[in-house]
């Protein structure tokens, strides 16, 4: 292990296919046309001095350190901005060039603090390196005025801005523009007064900076540097691993000092993120060593009892005996469990295997139940596979981007930045969302159409799109004839042609002006490569699956599927939610989305697992809760999920958890669910174990242990111990063996192994004999259904039962924000609370005025399910009649309000549509008071654990 960094070629690679031959310092080199002289030189090991150039951003040519001489050319051009040409002869080193470079460095250093020995960047400073490279030995200039006294900006919790060390190379400004696309930084002033400025002379924290770290990454000096480096010094080795936040699955170098993570640096070789990051992955990793981590197993008889710390052996044996006792008393089907979308593929696979083979039933579910289960269902039915069709890079070839019910700049920030880059290049944008998400209007990006639909009317919108496509002659007949099931297509064509689906006739339902709807549908169908991206604003509805099906129908009808730049792209929420689903976490499907009753699949797994498996689908999470309240489901093993916060109508969930006789929670914190638990098994963070995550583009990426598990075991080891104690033997010595077993049982994984992942960096499934290096874009030749034909399904709009009434006149919709992740258990324990310390309720000015609500007031939000209280934010980001909040803080009780209504196919909750009333109040809700007392009690019982 070492800290070896990836080579910086100075300028980005050229994608040209035409090759150019040239000579640099007498060495012959062949590079793609458009390559800079600097990059061409670097490619043969000639590193031209540079300061303002780095290969993550376009060249700028300002520092003049990289000058070269070109035979036959005039002057000394900057090698970063000079493209190669056929027959070019370039010289990078001679006395003239050396003199120029030394002079440039003298000027820089004359206004730079000479504190290298005590500077935080010592050992990682390009300015220092370049001073050495050009042989700077003296500084002859005696400046009258300097920037050495400039004040540091320490407002950001993760990095410090020290303008006294700034050389105004503008790499930070350009990174903010080109890589992140936020344009938060600028150069204020001219000449000597030039300085980097966040916003309009604001500090970093209060500016528009989103703390993605691109500027820190780009800075060649200590001007922008991580506080961890300032406090702890430079890291000494690095291990490449995969972020545990969100479904983008960014690759990071965990830069370490011993077992301490000094910083997480986005890996430029990362195939999902290409060296970019967001505030969560880049900086918010401190939760892994937070004081709230629980590292000792604990048990208790009831949730009124104090916890008792016990040995691993005692905890495991107790958990196993309790599960056996419950099965003996209530029957084999009276227990079950939940896999985690935050844990690795190997761990999810093991938990579902334990439940199916060890418990002897299929009562396994996962958090996808409450997020993208409609994606799994809808895409499996129509396209034949429960996953998105593209890789992220595909968007760079899209001409039209549809963003429906997803907020990529907050939920999937790194992909959001890629999307913004493509939009700045000229791609057209259609946003279908009730709320003004950032993409609607952001620097140099403006949506061509923002269809501000009423919540719950997604199906009417996709049907109106389909109506336009069919009735205005935009069907790609050639594609449909060749690739799709024609019986289903003809039935669908007749269905959507009906006038009831026209934009004009659905306008009263959706609230979208018919002209805009028609224009947007025409753009989607005729604008070139059209890529559909969607998220929980599509799935978390009573008709979530119907909308997913409708999107797949549209993509097939217009031929926007099966090649780069198009497709159906669900942006999955959690880091491994795609993977946990792939691994067989649903109660009706074995790994690889094969039904539990399918004879061949059943036989395959019975033989492989040496166990008798049930052919009956198991209980879904909401069914588990109902069964618990009815006394037939009494024990549950929950790994790395927090159903007591994340699931809808949590009063109901809490009651179900209280009704169970043994709840086993395996987690890194005493999360909300653990407050109802009887056994606590300490989990390991992503930094403490080895495995794989699968992101939203089906990319299987390596997760590598960088520190010893704080509690002694990785999660897969804990599951294995529990299984063995239950009498179902597991004997894996390494997660790679689990992956080998997965590969032997899943046709889409047969080519996957740790060796292959190490070789390729990551792999997009399917990876098998047909695609030995994986599959970036699916369905290129045929769909994965039997017969290979895409299936059209009819998508009638069925209004939700969650109606507004005089008592509940507003629609509450929920979502998330950039700084926080899911239930917030991780991000709430990091510096990210500097941006968002609480959940807030967004309300339109008209609705606020009607209720006498002012910005910042406490407001009560009451639904048919419950009531809670939040602070109000008055904003026209939401439309009149709609209010919005997030669900990152348990005390907010966002899911006290949400109801049991759910998707017809999958029971994914209708989080996005809850009828509420909002009123000004001056105290917390009754539920919140009860929650506070319960939590205080539980923390007190936890505090007693070591002494019991």
């Amino acid at each position: 292990m070492s800290i070896d960094k990836d080579k910086d070629y100075g300028t980005p690679a050229s994608s040209a296919t035409e090759m150019v031959n040239l000579e640099i310092d007498g060495f012959k080199v062949t590079v793609p046309a458009g390559t800079s002289v600097m990059r061409a030189a670097a490619s043969i090991g000639i590193d031209i001095p540079k300061l303002c150039a780095t290969d993550s951003i376009e060249p700028f040519g300002s520092c003049r350190l990289c000058v070269v001489q070109i035979e036959g050319g005039r002057g000394l051009p900057a090698s970063c901005t000079t493209p190669v040409f056929e027959g070019m002869k370039a010289v990078t080193q001679n006395q003239k060039l050396a003199d120029v470079r030394r002079g440039v460095m003298e000027l820089y250093i004359s206004d730079h603090p000479l504190d290298c020995l005590t500077c935080a960047a010592n050992g990682d400073c390009e300015l220092q390196d370049m001073a050495g490279a050009v042989g700077l030995r003296e500084v002859r200039y005696k400046p009258v005025e300097t920037h050495l006294g400039a004040t540091k900006d320490t407002s950001n919790p993760y990095f410090t801005f020290d303008p006294s060390k700034c050389i105004v190379c503008q790499r930070c400004v350009r990174a903010c523009e080109e890589t992140q696309g936020t344009f938060a930084l600028t150069i204020d002033g001219r000449g000597f007064d030039s300085k980097v400025s966040p916003g309009q002379n604001q500090d970093f924290l209060s500016s528009e900076c989103v703390s993605c770290g691109a500027c820190v990454q780009a800075c060649p000096t200590a001007t922008l540097i991580e506080n961890n480096v300032i406090e702890n010094g430079q890291p000494e080795h690095a291990i490449v691993t995969t972020c545990a936040y969100c479904g983008v699955g960014c690759s990071f170098r965990a830069e370490m000092k011993g077992e301490q993570v000094i910083r997480m640096v986005p890996d430029k070789n990362g195939q999902a993120n290409h060296g970019h990051s967001c505030v969560k992955g880049r900086f918010a990793f401190g939760y892994a060593t937070h004081k709230d981590r629980i590292t000792k197993p604990m048990i208790r008889a009831s949730i009124q009892d104090a916890w008792k710390e016990v040995s691993w052996e005692e905890a495991i044996n107790h958990a196993a005996s309790e599960m056996k006792r419950i099965q003996a008393k209530y029957g084999k089907d009276s227990i079950g469990g939940a896999t985690s979308s935050r844990c690795t593929n190997e761990e999810a696979y093991l938990v579902q295997k334990l439940i199916r083979a060890g418990f002897g039933n299929n009562n396994v579910d996962t958090c996808a139940r409450v997020c993208h289960s409609p994606t799994g269902y809808g895409l499996k039915q129509t396209l034949g596979e429960s996953s998105g069709t593209q890789n992220f890079d595909s968007i760079m070839k899209a001409d039209v981007i549809v963003v429906m019910g997803v907020n990529p700049t907050d939920g999937h920030p790194v992909f959001g930045s890629m999307m913004k880059k493509r939009l700045r290049q000229g791609a057209k944008l259609i946003v279908i969302d009730p709320r003004d998400i950032d993409l609607v209007k952001t620097p140099h990006v403006q949506a061509n159409y923002h269809l501000k639909l009423r919540p719950s009317t997604n199906v009417a919108v996709v049907n109106a799109f389909a109506h336009v496509v069919v009735t205005e002659g935009f069907v790609n007949e050639e594609f449909v004839n060749a690739r799709c099931d024609m019986t289903s297509f003809n039935k669908w064509r007749t269905f959507v042609s009906d006038e009831r689906h026209s934009p004009e006739n659905t306008e009263s339902i959706t609230g979208v002006p018919a002209a805009d709807m028609r224009a947007a549908a025409r753009l989607y169908a005729t604008g070139g490569n059209a890529a559909f991206h969607y998220g929980l604003g599509v799935t978390e509805h009573s008709q979530g699956s119907t909308t997913v099906i409708g999107i797949a129908n549209l993509a097939m009808a217009t031929g926007n599927i099966g090649r780069d730049g198009v497709g159906v792209n669900p942006l999955r929420g959690q880091n491994n939610v795609q993977g946990s689903c792939d691994m067989g976490s649903f109660p009706h499907e074995l790994p690889g989305y094969r039904h539990v009753a399918d004879p061949a699949t059943h036989d395959l797994f019975e033989k492989a697992w040496n166990a008798t498996l049930s052919t009956n689908p198991g209980l879904r999470l909401p069914n588990m809760f109902n069964a618990a309240l009815e006394g037939t489901y009494m024990g549950m093993y929950i790994e790395g999920e927090d159903i007591a916060q994340s699931d809808p109508n949590i009063t109901h969930v809490h009651a179900a958890l209280r009704a169970m006789e043994c709840v086993i929670v395996q987690d890194i914190f005493l999360n909300e669910t653990a407050k109802f638990a009887h056994v606590f098994l300490p989990g390991a963070s992503f930094l403490e174990k080895t495995g794989t995550f699968t992101n939203a583009e089906r990319r299987i990426s390596p997760v590598r242990k960088v520190m010893t598990p704080l509690a002694g075991y990785a999660d897969w080891e804990v599951t294995q111990m529990l299984s063995n104690a239950l009498g179902y033997p597991m004997n894996y010595s390494d997660p790679s063996e689990i992956m080998d077993e997965i590969a032997s049982l899943m046709p889409t994984f047969t080519g996957v192994s740790y060796a292959k992942i190490d070789e390729l960096g990551s792999i997009q499934w399917p990876c098998n004999n047909d695609a030995p290096e994986g599959t970036p874009v699916m369905h290129t030749q045929e769909f994965l259904r039997d017969g290979g034909k895409g299936l059209f399904m009819l998508t009638e709009y069925v209004p939700t039962i969650e109606k507004i009434t005089p008592m509940y006149p507003l629609i509450l919709t929920t979502g998330r924000i950039l700084a926080h992740y899911n239930v917030g258990a991780q991000t709430r324990r990091t510096g990210n609370v500097a941006w968002n310390p609480e959940d807030l309720l967004e309300i339109h000015p008209h609705d606020a005025e009607d209720r006498g609500i002012n910005d910042g007031d406490w407001v009560g939000i009451k639904s048919r399910a419950g009531e809670t209280v939040l602070h109000a934010v008055i904003t026209d980001r939401v439309q009149p009649g709609v209010v919005y909040t997030t669900f990152h803080f348990p005390e907010s009780g966002a899911n006290v309000i949400t109801t049991d209504n759910s998707d017809w196919a999958t029971n994914c909750p209708e989080y996005k549509v809850t009828a509420v009333q909002v009123t000004k109040v001056n105290q917390h809700s009754e539920w919140q008071e009860g929650y506070r007392a319960f939590t205080e009690n539980q923390l007190d019982l936890l505090a007693q654990a070591a002494n019991v």
Partner: protein
């Protein structure tokens, strides 16, 4: 028993609302039946069939009744 009967009736009717879009009601009923048999836990299926057989399927839509009547175990 895995869920109260009102929840199951609503679930069955919601599923039927989707498949009811098919003008061929035989195919629609088949869609509902397949969906329930492939996704519902055994106790849930038994309970809804019992509701149909012993309580006339009160609350169930026509299509849901037709589909549930075809469920086999």
């Amino acid at each position: 028993m895995s869920s109260n009967i009102d929840t199951l009736i609503k679930m069955a009717n919601d599923i039927s609302d989707f498949f009811n879009a098919d003008p061929d009601k035989t195919l629609a009923a088949e869609g509902v039946r397949n969906h329930i048999s492939r996704n519902w836990e055994l106790r849930m299926r038994q309970m809804i069939v019992e509701h149909l057989n012993n309580h006339g399927g009160e609350g169930l839509s026509i299509l849901a009744k037709s589909a549930i009547g075809q469920l086999t175990f």
